[in-house]
Amino acid sequence: MAEFRNRTPVTALVVGLVGFAVVAMVVDRRSAPGGPERELSGWTGAILDIAAPVQKMISFPFDLTQNAWRHYVSLLDASDNNDGLRARLAALEEENLQLREALIASGRLARIAEIRADFEVPMLPSELVGVDPSPWFRSVLVDRGREHGVHSGMPVISEHGLVGLVTATSVRASKTMLVLDRQSAVDGIIQRSRSRGIVRGRGTSEMDFEFVVRGSDVRIGDVVISSGLGGVYPKGIRIAEVVSVSDPGSALMQTAKLLPAVDFGRLEQVFVMLWRGPTMELLYAGEQAGDLGVMASEGAKP
């Protein structure tokens, strides 16, 4: 009896803490990506704000060494690379000229210029200061937060393609879920054939492209871009390249393996698009979140 009395407070504490953790997970799941915005404040925001400079400080000597080495190595074959790039530039300029001529001839250049003005989104250069402390999740911490205009639901890109989505912000830092994360799903299309599918993260360095077998044309080497249909990411951002296509057998859905356009192992600088897609805007509006939860098929898995 005495032993039972002694153990009761600990048992109650365990039940309380486990209950809190489970409720926190359920609430968090319901709020991602819609519902209440993950704008961390108070002590939770302070931890993220502290983490960014601490991680920057820890990684500074490694960064310095790595950069010095990379620059030295890249100098070794800079001359050859330069010649190759000049030749490629000339070829691309020639191709660009021909395409412009074709567009002028069809009278579509002026219209494209108007559309481009509508689509130009301000981008905020940000530095990646740390990665997820757990090897089983793919997210990164960047050194820009609410005071720089960054909010949850904003897409993050690099010069090579789509990086991910801002999922939580503090005053001076923000957390970005990478497209590699197991919770990530992006509506994509094959650039060549316009076949549509879902790009799903696997938690590793590769992703899956799930598409309906009937009427789809997906081949090795095809480039997958964002379709813009989910209302989370803008249309036309390069996501990945198809490296293998599975045999569908009699299944309705087929899966292709993708290699991301962005080399996440070498990612240092990213650009936060200071823009939220229509779905994100509606979902983060608050009251309407419950009604529109079904639209959140892109950004995080349903």
Binding site: V10, L17, L40, Q55, W136
Partner: protein, 179 residues
Amino acid sequence: MKRVLALLALGGLAPMIQGAVGTFIPLYYCPDFGLLLVVGLGLCWRSTAGGLVLSAALGLIADLLSGSLFGQHMLLRIFAFGAARAGSQQLNLRGVIPQAIFVCVLTVVTTLGSGMLTWFFAAGPGVNGEMLRELIPHALINGAFAPWGFSLVERISSWLSEVDSGHQLLHIRPRNRLI
């Protein structure tokens, strides 16, 4: 109180260090300092209730810095603390090898638990082959670092208890140390 604050600060710093190190090397080659700290607490912290609360707090800090669901690391840290507590009472965890094996197994179990929680709450793919391939080196590295991690927790804990009480503790080192 100083002990709790110091271990909280250390536990808060652990995922930050891991996050910074992860920009240079794959994280599965890096020991999980947070897990080692919590298991160390389970083995040498006197108060079970205090250790539980501390482990849960360390899990919450990891949740804030990680892309996991809020509460996921907290739940796994509570489990790790409980397993270490039960392990210290039921198993012979004296010596480097039993401790390393215990942490290896605990790493595997908590990782599989993490995969299952992601699958259950976030409809992720759960545990896949690639995850298992990465898990093996991660568990081995955690196991290799476990004795040092526990020794560090024990030293900090005993040093800070001296500071807290204002008395010098008499250190008696038995032939077969528990930790």
